[in-house]
């Protein structure tokens, strides 16, 4: 408890110091950032998902789930805002527990949580927020290598969702640069699918790899994960500088993050013919750089993230890069009903700069880093405000494995939305997406907004 208080105090002190150092530069004139009011809104989403096949991990082929999300915000003074977003989940699959949880550290999704609880101060040029919140960094549209502040819930992998984290953020909005410092006192790992979930990784590849090295086939036992111990240096830090007018027509972003790998690595321990595997979370530094600009009617963006693992026993050092472009066609004459077609195309690559030490007892978990040499694409076709269609795909050029989604959305009113989608996965059975080729699915979604 004392340690936790220390961590939170440290985060608050650092952020407050940062805020006040720049606050001195801010004018006290009426900024226009006042008169915050109380607002209340939300959505109720009900989704049916049907799978074409059974999975070796899970027999459920029909999933019905509901998510109720309520956004409530209230002004506590002219410049102080409190935002709360309670979220309630219910499903017939058992992915969501019946419990209430706040910190998102659980292995399963809670039936109820506070997705967001944030107290924010808005100065003329400063912003300060504390609470459970999520962030988005990077310039990528479909994938951002530098976007690592929040862990991800991968229980329904194609619909992965960021997990909010208790954190403190300070931001200064300058004329040429904006800067942001984030302090996260508590580590939250990615929530990966359990062994009875159809999106879990198969262990046969792992068994084969280990057998080849050991010369025999061991029994594999997964031990409880080992989170970074609760020491005072558990905190994670992120700092970002963004520019929007340094050079006309260009946006730049520089970032630094020091934290723990949210995905983790597997630690191997052989004990009398049984291989015990424990997920552990190596600490790393990551330096990021990104840009976006326009050239005629094209938007062009790119980023590079240099990932440096603290201890080379644990994991590799690598650089992930992304380059992409967006283009929109409007009022397509050939096809009169189409209002807009927006095409986004990105390419993601990875270079390993330093490998694990040769006798490292650590292995990759199999999740993450799937887009090492991949094309990402998305086409949005808007027929009207009421009707739209989208197609998205990830295609790994190394193994020719892929995922693809087709989705049609109809919005008869501002408060009601219907959607239908189909998703396909394919490729060699030992590839990232190919492993889930049995998980092709279709879904119907009804969302009420209030």
């Amino acid at each position: 408890m004392v340690k936790r208080l220390y961590q939170v105090s440290l985060g608050l002190a650092l952020s407050a110091a940062f805020s006040f150092s720049v606050f001195a530069q801010a004018s006290s004139s009426n900024s226009g950032w006042s008169q915050l009011k109380e607002t209340f809104s939300g959505s109720l989403e009900t989704r049916y998902v049907g799978y074409e096949n059974r999975s070796i991990h899970e027999s459920t082929q029909h999933v019905l789930e509901s998510t109720l999300s309520i956004d409530w915000s209230k002004s506590l003074s002219d410049n102080v805002l409190l935002e709360l977003t309670p979220v309630f989940y219910l499903d017939n699959e058992g992915s969501s527990g019946k419990d209430w949880s706040f910190d998102e550290q659980g292995l399963t999704r809670s039936g109820a949580t506070l997705d967001q609880v944030v107290l924010s101060y808005f100065g003329e040029r400063t912003e300060f927020s504390v609470g459970k919140q999520s962030f988005s960094w990077g310039k990528g549209d479909l994938y951002s290598p530098v976007d690592k502040i929040n862990a991800v819930d991968l229980i329904d992998l194609p619909n992965s969702k960021k997990l909010s984290v208790v954190s403190v953020s300070s931001q200064y909005i300058g004329d040429y640069f904006s800067s942001q410092l984030i302090v996260i006192p508590d580590f939250i790992p990615n929530r990966i699918p359990n062994s009875d979930n159809r999106w879990t990784r198969r262990t046969d590849r792992l068994t084969r790899a280990v057998s080849a090295r050991l010369g025999f086939v061991p029994d594999i036992r997964f031990e409880p994960r080992r989170l970074p111990n609760e020491a005072t240096d558990d905190s994670q830090y992120g700092f970002r500088l963004t520019s929007s007018s340094l050079r006309g027509g260009w946006d730049f972003e520089l970032s630094y993050f020091q934290g723990f790998s949210a995905q983790g690595v597997l630690e191997q321990q052989l004990d009398l013919g049984t291989l015990a595997l424990t997920t552990v979370y190596p600490r790393y530094d990551e330096f990021g750089i990104g840009f976006s600009t326009t050239a005629g009617e094209f938007e062009i963006h790119g980023e590079v993230a240099l990932h440096l693992t603290k201890n080379h026993d644990f994991d590799e050092d690598y650089a992930t890069s992304l380059i992409g472009s967006r283009y929109s066609f409007y009022g397509v004459e050939l096809w009169q009903p189409v209002e807009e077609i927006a095409i986004t195309l990105e390419y993601a690559s990875e270079n390993v700069n330093r490998h694990r030490t040769e006798d490292s007892p650590f292995l990759s978990t199999g999740f993450g880093r799937a887009l090492s040499n991949s094309l990402l694409g998305r086409v949005d076709i808007k027929f009207s405000e009421e009707m739209s269609f989208e197609f998205g795909t990830f295609y790994n050029l190394n193994r020719s494995d892929y995922s693809a989604q087709l989705k049609a959305t109809h919005r008869p009113s501002d408060s009601l939305e219907f959607a239908a989608s189909v998703e396909f996965f394919g490729g060699p059975s030992d590839s990232f997406f190919g492993e889930w080729s049995n998980n092709d699915r279709f879904a119907f979604l009804v969302t009420n907004y209030f």
């Binding site: 226009g32 939300g42 915000s73 808005f122 007018s245 006309g248 929109s328 939305e417 907004y449």
Partner: protein, 264 residues
């Protein structure tokens, strides 16, 4: 009495419009000079009527700043409905031939995206207004010609035709020409006809419920745009306006796009 007449004649003689020949450009310049203010905040309600009579509502706020020797900066934020709450659009106009800077903030992704200004002629968030309709008139990229005068309900109007002149404007604009009805007594546009690239009448904009919001500065509280081809109509009703409270530079910074709508 004589003094008053002499004074009135002197003012008339030295006014910039009266002293020179009235042209299409001088009318548009005078209009800009009279009604442009350094900054403005407004809150608007938008009503979208479909061809089948279906009605949708939006609520939004708008911050504008005019900078000398620079283009305007505009921040627009949606308040309602829930599906687009806090969606923001920031525009920094650039002098020709530079492309305008434009950023869009979509709360669902929490990301600020730079967007191409190429879509100037496109529908603004599904309404009958296009992005170019939402911007102040650019006098450098058009030529203006007086087509004639009209008397309506005892008030005199100039009919001014605007044609795009620069290559960039011709390419980017969705209009081959526009005709403005400008009220002569207050130099204020009350009606605009928009002609598409094929020179067909495509939209009619009406500016009604006029109000003098500051000394000699007029605004229309109700703007309606009728799309002739689609048979749809969008109305913009201004229910709050502030021309006085200073707006800081930070309001028009990209990171400010993420902030929740504040004056709601």
């Amino acid at each position: 009495m004589l003094t008053k007449i002499i004074l009135a004649l002197s003012i008339f003689a030295f006014s910039p419009v009266a002293s020179a020949e009235i042209t299409g450009l001088s009318i548009m310049q005078e209009q800009k000079q009279r009604h442009d203010v350094p900054q403005e905040f407004s809150q608007k309600k938008m009503t979208l009527e479909s061809a089948k009579g279906k009605v949708k509502h939006r609520r939004m706020i708008n911050y504008t700043r005019s900078l000398e020797n620079q283009g305007n900066k505009t921040l627009l934020k949606f308040l309602e409905p829930t599906t687009i709450h806090n969606v923001g659009l920031l525009t920094w106009e650039q002098a020709d031939p530079k492309e305008d800077d434009q950023w869009l903030y979509l709360p669902a992704s929490k990301k600020i995206k730079r967007i191409s200004g190429g879509g100037k002629s496109n529908s603004f968030m599904g309404t009958d207004f296009s992005f170019e309709d939402m911007r102040p008139e650019n006098l450098q990229t058009h030529e203006y010609e007086i087509l004639g005068e009209e008397d309506i309900d005892g008030l005199k109007y100039w009919l001014v035709q605007a044609l795009p002149t620069t290559r960039k404007e011709k390419k980017a604009s969705g209009y081959s020409k526009r005709i403005f009805w400008v009220r002569q007594d207050i130099y204020f546009t009350v009606k605009v006809e928009f002609y598409d690239r094929k020179k067909r009448l495509s939209k009619i904009g009406l500016y009604t419920d006029l109000e003098e919001v500051a000394d000699g500065v007029w605004r229309s509280n109700v703007v309606s745009m009728e799309n002739i081809k689609r048979k749809t109509r969008t109305s913009l009703i201004t229910n709050q306006r502030d021309l006085v409270t200073p707006l800081s530079d930070a309001v028009f910074g990209t990171q400010a796009l993420k902030r929740p709508p504040l004056k709601n």
